[in-house]
């Protein structure tokens, strides 16, 4: 049973991609398919990032170890959807005009921020295999704390695109806020237990 969890989660995480593919081939993306793909892949990146961030708290609260066993996979799926998002932008929106791409990354703050978040996810993805974990030792954990920054940048990137109504950014932003506060409070709580007098 336990062996089935990973393949099951893998298939579930692939579903949004399969649906997108189906919509592409059925020509069901609306009159502006590029825009639609870009929005969809961006939103799924953020969702997977938030799922990845909630796995550790879920394990700590429920004591169920399976949550963290799929953490790396979920994180890699966030990178996967981010790569799709980046590729859609590169190929369909900017049509590989490198000069323009460079200009856009530098001149448009929301793109700068999104690009930085993507670079972070890329580095985390590259250093995710077990061999890299062993090689980096203590630094691995420090490096991978950057995922918090990536999540915050992702929400800011979204906030910057929204106009008139910031509902979506408020939703994703509050989830990030809750997840980060949980970690911070837990950190304080544990420190107090170890050094009850100092605090």
């Amino acid at each position: 049973m336990r062996k089935l969890i990973k393949p099951l989660v893998f298939c579930l995480a692939l579903l949004p991609f399969v649906f997108l593919l189906l919509r592409i081939f059925r020509n069901d993306l609306g009159p502006d398919p590029v825009q639609e793909l870009s929005l969809e892949t961006g939103e799924w990146t953020l969702r997977f990032l938030l799922i990845a961030l909630s796995l550790t708290p879920l394990r700590q609260i429920t004591g169920q170890i399976d949550f963290v066993r799929v953490r790396r996979m979920i994180g890699l799926f966030a990178l996967f959807y981010a790569s799709l998002h980046f590729t859609v932008w590169l190929t369909f929106l900017l049509e590989f005009q490198w000069l323009t791409i460079f200009e856009e990354i530098i001149e448009r703050p929301y793109i700068t921020i999104g690009f930085c978040a993507y670079l972070i996810l890329l580095v985390l993805g590259i250093t995710s295999p077990k061999a890299m974990v062993l090689r980096l030792g203590k630094n691995w954990k420090r490096l991978h704390r950057l995922v918090y920054l990536a999540a915050i940048l992702g929400v800011v990137h979204l906030l910057w695109i929204l106009r008139i109504d910031i509902g979506e950014a408020v939703l994703y932003g509050s989830i990030v806020f809750v997840l980060l506060s949980y970690r911070f409070l837990r950190f304080l709580w544990r420190r107090r237990k170890v050094f009850p007098i100092d605090l």
Partner: protein, 347 residues
């Protein structure tokens, strides 16, 4: 003695309006087709001389709307078709009706492009009145029927360029904005005209949202000479049919040389004034949305490059990207309005 008489016809037996209308369309289209076939070659113009039949574009029969009120159908019975040349016409292929009516920015109905079409079912375009205020000889509240009465409807095919870098080609039905504004006799003090969109919170979920960072109602404005330009159009329909709510029913402005957000929808107030009015987008982010908002490929918006545009509809593998033209290609008609103005500063 009271005897309850059953209804003569059970409601289940009544043919829905859309069905019999379709049937009529089918019959008339069919007879026109036969007539057309008979005359083909010899006198092709006769079939199209029939009123309305010569319109460039018609909404698909299955998607046609019912009139907001009975008097509308008379209004739409006779529409002057677009001339086949000049600024009121373009030979570029039309954006299909389904896309024009399902890909909209109308934030009162929601944030996503398909929200306006899916969320506007309850919208009430009748009864409707428009309040005329400010520097005019004839202010007051006018019923829509009275507003439209003297104006003959005509078709115009305009390009629509959105500030988000996409564009469409749409066959509008309406009349020149100037003809309407003149009727209220603006005074010499009227230098600007301000428009306001209806607030119908009970039918507009976007207005009810608590995370909105905008102050409703939506407002737009024009300099008087811009509003009086012959290109400025007051539209009450599209594709030969009544205006759908998501496109600004019952009455909206169309300004083809400006970014789409200037073309305010569902108008309930027109105010003539001496000073430049506040406008929604300009108030929200002045460095991104200017008061003039003329289509200009040389002035980049902080979010979107403006030198090219995506002509809709697209598919993923056939993407029409075209160069954006100054004033959306209507320079001949409107460039004189901005002579001597620094368009980089007054964007």
């Amino acid at each position: 003695m009271l005897i309850k008489k059953p209804a003569d016809i059970k409601s289940s037996e009544i043919t829905p309006e859309s069905v019999y209308k379709n049937r009529r369309d089918f019959i008339t289209d069919g007879s026109k087709l036969m007539l057309g076939a008979a005359l083909a070659g010899s006198m092709p113009s006769i079939a199209s001389a029939q009123s309305g039949a010569s319109l460039m574009a018609r909404a698909p029969a299955s998607m046609r709307r019912s009139a907001p009120a009975a008097w509308w159908s008379g209004k739409f019975a006779d529409i002057k078709s677009a001339p086949r040349s000049g600024p009121y016409y373009t030979g570029e292929s039309l954006t299909p009706y389904a896309d024009v009516t399902r890909y909209n920015n109308f934030y009162e109905f929601g944030m996503d492009k398909d929200d306006p079409s899916s969320n506007s079912g309850e919208f009430k375009a009748d009864p409707w009145s428009v309040e005329i205020t400010g520097e005019v000889a004839k202010p007051g509240r006018y019923d829509l029927e009275d507003i439209l009465k003297p104006h003959a409807l005509e078709e115009r095919i305009y390009r629509l360029r959105c500030v988000e870098a996409w564009s469409m080609v749409i066959p509008w039905i309406g009349f020149p904005l100037a003809d309407l504004l003149k009727r209220f006799e603006p005074t010499s003090k009227a230098k600007y005209v301000e428009f306001e969109t209806i607030m119908q919170p009970e039918t507009m979920p976007g207005i009810r949202s608590r995370t909105a960072i905008v102050r409703w109602p939506y407002r737009e404005g024009l300099r008087m000479d811009e509003a009086m330009n012959p290109l400025a159009f007051m539209a009450v329909g599209l594709y030969g049919d009544y205006m759908p709510p998501q496109n600004g029913a019952p009455m909206r402005i169309v300004l083809p040389w400006k970014y789409g957000f200037k073309s305010i929808k569902s108008i309930v107030k027109i105010n003539f004034r001496e000073t430049q009015p506040h406008t929604t987008w300009n108030d929200l982010q002045a460095q991104e949305y200017g008061f003039f908002a003329n289509v200009n490929p040389n002035v980049h918006h902080p979010r979107w490059r403006q030198d090219t545009e995506r002509r809709l509809p697209q598919t993923l593998f056939s993407r029409t990207r075209i160069d954006t033209r100054l004033f959306n290609g209507y320079g001949e008609q409107v460039a004189s309005l901005y002579e001597g103005m620094d368009l980089n500063r007054y964007y």
